[in-house]
Each structure stands twice: as C-alpha cells, then as structure tokens.
C-alpha cells in the first residue's frame, strides 16, 4: 500500500540553525500539507501546497518557514532559523482530492531544538 515517507525521523539542532525536513508524498497525489504537533497539544495545520505554490498557510507559518517541491517526488519544509518553540513533531500529508478530504500522513519527524 502506498504511503507517505519522511526523513529524518529525528532531528536535533541548535537554536538559530536551519533545518530541512523531507517528505515523499504518495506518488499520484497532487496536494501536499505540513502539520505539526507540539508535545501534549493538538495537531496544527501549517501549510498546504499545490501546483508548485502555497495555497494556504496558517499564522504559525511565518517568514522563517518555507516549502518546496524540488523535484517530482520530494516535498520539503525548511525552517531558516530555528527557535526553541519550534520543537515538535512535524507531519507531512498528501491527498488526491482538491478539497483535501482524506489526507494521508507520514510517520513524522521529531524536531528538537536545543
């Protein structure tokens, strides 16, 4: 069964450093998303991406964040200058439907900012 994959599974970085989280969505999906879950809190939407551009972003997704689809398979989330409060699980998701109904999630990357 096709699945969303994410790398790395765990990333430790120092405050102020740049990180890139990588995702490979399900191959025939065209709509891509990033969510995050801070420990003990709910899963929160960050950004959605379609046709090589951001279609919607949350207020969390400020200028420190960017997304890219550098080739036909990868989808990346970059945090330019990490803060302690960026520590969270980051989930990539993809869907085949424009309205993002059934979104399929990857296993997540645990980002720890020290």
């Amino acid at each position: 069964e096709p699945e969303v994959t994410q790398t790395p599974s765990h990333q430790v970085t120092q405050m102020g450093q740049e990180v890139i989280l990588r995702c490979v969505p399900i191959s025939n999906h065209l709509y891509f998303y990033w969510y995050r879950q801070i420990l003990g809190q709910k899963v929160e939407f960050l950004v959605s991406f379609y046709n090589n551009e951001i279609s919607e972003k949350s207020e969390i997704f400020d200028d420190q964040f960017s997304v890219e689809r550098p080739d036909g398979s990868n989808f990346t989330l970059k945090i330019r200058s990490t803060k302690l409060e960026d520590s969270a699980m980051y989930f990539c998701a993809s869907s085949a439907l424009k309205t993002g109904r059934e979104q399929y999630f990857g296993p997540g990357t645990r980002l720890t900012v020290t």
Partner: protein, 113 residues
C-alpha cells in the same frame, strides 16, 4: 482556537464491547469530518469520514454519526479490540479551496483483554 473539541481525554473499554468516542465542533463552515487514529511515534492514520449531508457512515467495525443540529459527531467501534488502543482524533474540514484539517485534542482509547 477551540473549533473542534474532544472533551474526554481518555476512555477505557473491555475487548468485545463498544467504544464511543465523541467530538463537538463550533465552526458551522465545516462540511466534512474525519477520524484519525494515532499510535505513539507514528503519524495519524485515516479511519473514516463523513460528509455533512449524511448522518451516518459505516466501514466495518467503525461507524461515524453526525448530528449537525448539535454540532456533534461520534465514532463507534464495535467490537473493540486491544489493537484499537491508540489516540483518536476527529478533524473538521471546510469546502473552501485546499482546506486545512482542524483537529481536536484527541481521546486516548485503551481496550483491555
């Protein structure tokens, strides 16, 4: 922002019995609801969904009920199995563009043998 609420942080049931997980929402713009199951150190796994034009959707052991007037939905698992032990999230979606999913805080279900 409490658009989707799951007021029970945990639920314990015995194997073979029914599990009922509840979810309330405040945003009238939601027209689609989804339930996800999550194991520790894994991503949310899609379980079942329901459109706002329906009041029930069934898939095997899982049934979701929607009461639009009460802004309430519930997930029924019958019969419950120990492997169902996980955190269950409900999420709402609006039919506007490439909309985000708005998640509740989750309910931890423990099914004991």
């Amino acid at each position: 922002d409490q658009q989707v609420k799951q007021n029970s942080p945990s639920l314990s049931v015995q194997e073979g019995r029914i599990s009922i997980l509840n979810c309330d929402y405040t945003n009238s713009m939601f027209d689609y609801f989804l339930w996800y199951k999550k194991y520790p150190a894994e991503g949310p796994t899609f379980l079942i969904s329901i459109s706002s034009i329906k009041d029930k959707n069934e898939d095997g052991r899982f049934t979701v009920f929607l009461n639009k007037s009460a802004k309430h939905l519930s997930l029924h698992i019958v019969p419950s199995q120990p492997g169902d032990s996980a955190v269950y999230f409900c999420a709402g979606a609006m039919n506007t563009g490439f909309q985000k999913l708005v998640f509740g805080t989750g309910t931890r279900l423990l099914v004991s043998p």
